[in-house]
Amino acid sequence: MGKQVLLIEDEPNIIEAIRFILSRDGWDVRTHSNGQDAFEAARARLPDVIILDVMLPGKSGFDILTEIRADPALADTPVLMLTARGQKKDREMAERAGASQYMTKPFSNAEILETVRQMVVP
């Protein structure tokens, strides 16, 4: 399928795992570990899907998401939010901020694959 995924995450093991899963499925996985310039990275690459972790050094995932949604080029890009907190109000907060999908860690590999696939296909 040859789609581009931008993974904004700081934990190296998680990056490794997701990269393995998605690239086996044919995705082009780019990663960015820093919250400060995550938005710029996204702007530069203009991926088809963004996977965004909430807990990032520098900037909170929610702030980055707001920025992404504010930008016309990225406004329609599907964003999958990853977080360690799975409460309903966190889900609502994510939806309000503009996340297309929301997932809690730890996740099932099959699930994340399925979700990413679905996000691209409108």
Binding site: E11, N13, I14, E16, A17, R24, M55, K105, P106
Partner: protein, 893 residues
């Protein structure tokens, strides 16, 4: 018979005139008009009830029998009046300022408001006065009979009784009507006083008229009269000294103590200043009354020998055919009799109602004497019934005694009875040391002696006191003979009785007063009475209700506020039919005002304040005590309230602080939980992801698989370590850790830690400066090792120098052991130097894989061991100092 009918007619019209006068006077007094009501002349004339029918008729009889001795009866009061500065002035002042209503009230009030005393005095007064009332009834019936011109035979006897009955009934009715109109708080009866004054004029005029008739009409002039006197039985001036002095003293005492005299002299007194006029005017009246007594007696003895000398005043004009004069004389006698009965009935009924009936009734119904409408009705009823009762008693006495000469002596017996009040009265007014017990003792002794030696014998030997007792004494003891007590033989019975009763009375009074100790209220009342001139200004008479109401308004404005007070007063005035703001100080108004005020200042204070203004009286002791009680209660209550309120404020503050702490803790807990959750989930994510990869992926190369498996392994270890650290930290924070104290050298410990932390393997080089490593430590060495291990591991993880070197320096400074861990990296920025000891704080990248709890644990451990771990700034790299207090003991190297 015709004259009798005319007489009845004249009598009735006279009575109607009295009614009219009384009514008009009452009305005028209510309206506040009638300055003439308050003239000293009216007051003087009212004192004339001292001269009763016994004066009008009996004086002449007395003179006919015993010559000038009768003058003593009038000289006594004369001397008392002239000496008004001594006793009367004080009596009147006290009576007005203490609002005394009767002689019983005065005596009981002086001695601590003792009701026992009041009851005793009342009973004695009733016993003493009843025969006197009977005497008046007898006089009038006798005078009626004289007009009827038939002798006292059977037919006449019935008539006499009926006459007396109708007379008694009429008197009772008049007294009830004008004596109990309403309950004036000051007990003033203006109508009655006016009627009495009129009667005084009538009787003086009548007696003078008869006297003039006798001297110039019958006798032929002054010199002839004098000649006649010289020629009569009573020509000799021959009086027994003891009787002379005794009777004068007795009449003086009676003048002060008679209930009816007290009533007109003190209770009905409008203005203390009137005493000054009465001081000379009343003796003048007495003088005029006595002027023609001897001439009438002598002429009567000459012309009407053999008839009752008591009736000469009437029979002389009648015998000479002077019917008009006779009727006038009759009216004089009638006036004197009726005025006595009316005033005596009022005085006695006041005492009976106030001190006997009302206390009993109040006791039965419970509660205290607030002048509610209900109580007033009962008081009025009691008053009226008492009046009827007293008059009835007099009538019964008259019936039982059957009239006759026995009654004539009763006048003096009655005087002797009321004279028993004198020691208590004068003692109470002038002697601070007089006590209730003394007064009681004196009264009891005196009245017993009086009863035994005068009153009972007066019924005649053999009636009550048997012959045996009269002759041989009580129980056969000769010194207890009623008329020769203690061996005093041969004295005139009256003088004898008076002497002994007064002597023993006074002796008992003084002795018991000296021996007994008065109650506080007695002493206070004593001070108030004896020192009355210090306390009360000369109350300027009836200053008029409006002046008082104005004072009341001023006071009410201060308490209730001007608008409210004025509205209240205006509505009260409106209800009374007066315009403006000043209503009459009627009992109803005063009562409602008190109620109104008690809402603001309390009942006792309101009562005291109103009473002070209206009564002009100093506040009574009881009122003061009630006010003090109430004030004390209020103060206690308000201090309790204050304490409660302070407590509440404190509790509220504590609650607020606790709430803040809890909120803070809750927030901290939330933060901690979310942080922990994140920390736990992160390794879990890797473990799950890679294990799924290993499970699902085929075509995985062995190298890859091995790599992923070790990731899982590492993450699992990380997770375990995190959980261990969390638990450790929790245990440390809760203080549940128990220290395992061991001893060992610092050097050994550092070796151990170094080895456990990986030693010199890896990139980190550990250098030791073994300065004071020989120090013996006595603490939980495992925990201390844990701290050292942590610090070394941190240096290994975070030191970012090309060749990382960790230097461990140990030094002893005073009581403290200092172990410094210094690396050669970039160190920690200043703003993070305290934050790093917090839980989950990590700086820089998170690649190092720690949970951020290490330094927090170190801090807790050092805290438990009594030392500290701090960041040491200004070194070549990151530097941590562990400080621990130790004892100065250096191990032998």
């Amino acid at each position: 018979m015709a004259t009798l009918n005319i007489l009845v007619l004249v009598c009735l019209s006279y009575v109607v005139l009295l009614f009219v006068v009384a009514f008009a006077a009452d009305r005028a007094a209510l309206r506040g008009r009638g300055k003439w009501l308050r003239s000293p002349i009216i007051y003087t004339l009212s004192l004339s009830i001292y001269c009763t029918a016994w004066t009008f008729y009996g004086a002449v009889g007395f003179a006919a029998r015993s010559g000038l001795e009768f003058v003593t009866i009038y000289l006594g009061p004369t001397l008392v009046m002239i000496g008004w500065w001594w006793a009367l002035r004080k009596m009147v002042r006290v009576g007005r300022s203490q609002r005394i209503t009767s002689i019983a009230d005065l005596i009981s009030s002086r001695f601590g408001k003792s009701n026992t005393l009041a009851v005793f005095v009342t009973l004695l007064a009733v016993i003493g006065t009843t025969p006197y009332i009977a005497l008046q009834l007898q006089s009038v019936t006798l005078s009626f009979a004289a007009f009827a011109e038939t002798g006292p035979d059977v037919g006449e006897a019935i008539n006499r009784e009926v006459t007396a009955f109708w007379l008694a009934l009429g008197l009772a009715l008049f007294t009830i009507l004008f004596g109990t109109r309403n309950l004036d708080a000051n007990e003033r009866h203006h109508g009655v006083v006016m009627a009495i004054a009129l009667e005084a004029v009538v009787k003086l005029f009548a007696l003078l008229a008869v006297g003039v008739f006798v001297v110039w009409g019958l006798s032929g002039g002054v010199s002839e009269t004098l000649a006649r006197i010289d020629a009569s039985n009573i020509a000799r001036w021959d009086v027994s000294a003891s009787r002379w002095v005794g009777l004068t003293a007795l009449s003086a005492a009676a003048f002060l103590c008679l209930p009816r005299m007290f009533q007109v002299m003190v209770v009905e007194n409008e203005d203390e200043d009137h005493l000054r006029t009465a001081a000379w005017a009343f003796p003048a009246y007495l003088m005029l009354m006595s002027l023609f007594v001897v001439p009438i007696a002598v002429v009567g003895l000459d012309l009407l020998e053999g008839t009752n000398p008591d009736l000469f005043v009437l029979s002389l004009p009648l015998s000479q055919g002077q019917d008009g004069l006779a009727i006038l004389s009759f009216l004089g006698g009638f006036s004197s009799a009726t005025s006595m009965v009316i005033v005596a009935a009022i005085a006695l009924s006041t005492m009976v109602s106030n001190h006997i009936v009302m206390p009993i009734w109040l006791n039965m119904t419970g509660g205290n004497a607030v002048m509610s409408g209900d109580v007033r009705q009962v008081a009025l009823l009691a008053r009226r019934l008492s009046i009827a009762g007293v008059v009835l008693l007099g009538y019964l006495y008259f019936r039982i005694s059957g009239g006759g000469t026995a009654l004539a002596k009763i006048g003096l017996v009655s005087f002797a009875g009321v004279a028993q009040f004198l020691p208590a009265l004068l003692g109470g007014l002038f002697w601070r040391g007089a006590t209730r017990a003394g007064a009681m003792a004196g009264l009891v002794i005196g009245s017993l002696v009086w009863l035994y030696s005068l009153f009972l014998p007066s019924f005649g030997t053999g009636t009550i006191l048997s012959d045996a007792i009269m002759h041989d004494g009580l129980w056969g003891l000769s010194w207890l003979r009623p008329q020769a007590l203690f061996g005093s033989e041969g004295m005139d019975p009256l003088v004898h009785a008076v002497m002994w009763s007064m002597l023993l009375n006074t002796a008992g009074f003084i002795t018991v007063s000296l021996l007994s100790f008065p109650k506080p209220i007695e002493r206070l009342q004593g001070a108030q009475f004896v020192n009355v001139y210090d306390h009360s200004p000369t109350t300027g008479g009836w200053t008029g209700g409006l002046a008082q109401t104005e004072d009341l308004l001023i006071m009410a404005q201060r308490i209730m506020g001007s608008t409210q007070a004025q509205a209240f007063f205006a509505s009260a005035a409106g209800r009374q039919g007066i315009g403006g703001y000043l209503p009459e100080p009627s009992p109803d108004f005063l009562q409602s005002l008190e109620r109104e005020l008690s809402g603001s200042v309390g009942a006792a204070a309101a009562h005291a304040m109103v009473g002070q203004i209206v009564g002009g009286a100093s506040v009574s002791v009881e009122d003061l005590m009630a006010v003090a009680d109430e004030t004390a209660q209020i103060m206690e209550y308000s201090s309790k309230l204050e304490a409660k309120s302070t407590e509440l404020t404190r509790t509220a503050r504590q609650l607020r602080e606790a709430n803040e702490k809890l909120t803070q803790l809750s927030r901290q807990k939330d933060a901690f939980l979310s942080q922990v959750s994140h920390e736990l989930r992160t390794p879990m994510t890797s473990i799950r992801a890679f294990s799924e990869i290993l499970r699902d992926a085929d075509g995985l190369q062995a190298e890859e698989a091995g790599k992923y498996a070790s990731v899982i392994h590492d993450e699992a270890i990380r997770l375990t370590r995190l959980l261990d650290d969390l638990l450790d930290l929790s245990v440390l924070e809760n203080g549940q850790v128990s220290l395992n104290v061991q001893t060992g050298t610092l050097g050994d410990l550092l070796d151990r830690a170094e080895a456990a932390a990986g030693g010199n393997s890896g990139e980190l080089e550990v250098r030791r400066q073994r300065g004071d490593e020989g120090i013996m430590l006595s603490t939980d060495l495992d925990r201390l090792a844990q701290v050292f291990i942590n610090l070394i591991a941190n240096a290994r993880k975070y030191c970012d120098a090309k060749t990382p070197v960790l230097t461990i320096e140990s030094r002893l400074s005073g009581e403290m052991l200092l172990v410094d861990f210094i690396d050669n990296g970039t160190g920690i920025p200043t703003d993070k130097q305290t934050v790093i000891f917090e839980k989950f704080s990590r700086i820089g990248d998170t690649k190092a894989g720690g949970a951020g709890l290490g330094l927090a644990i170190c801090r807790e451990i050092m805290g438990r061991l009594g030392g500290r771990v701090t960041y040491l700034p200004g070194q070549s790299g990151a530097a941590f100092r562990v400080s621990l207090p130790v004892e100065q003991r250096v191990a032998a190297q």
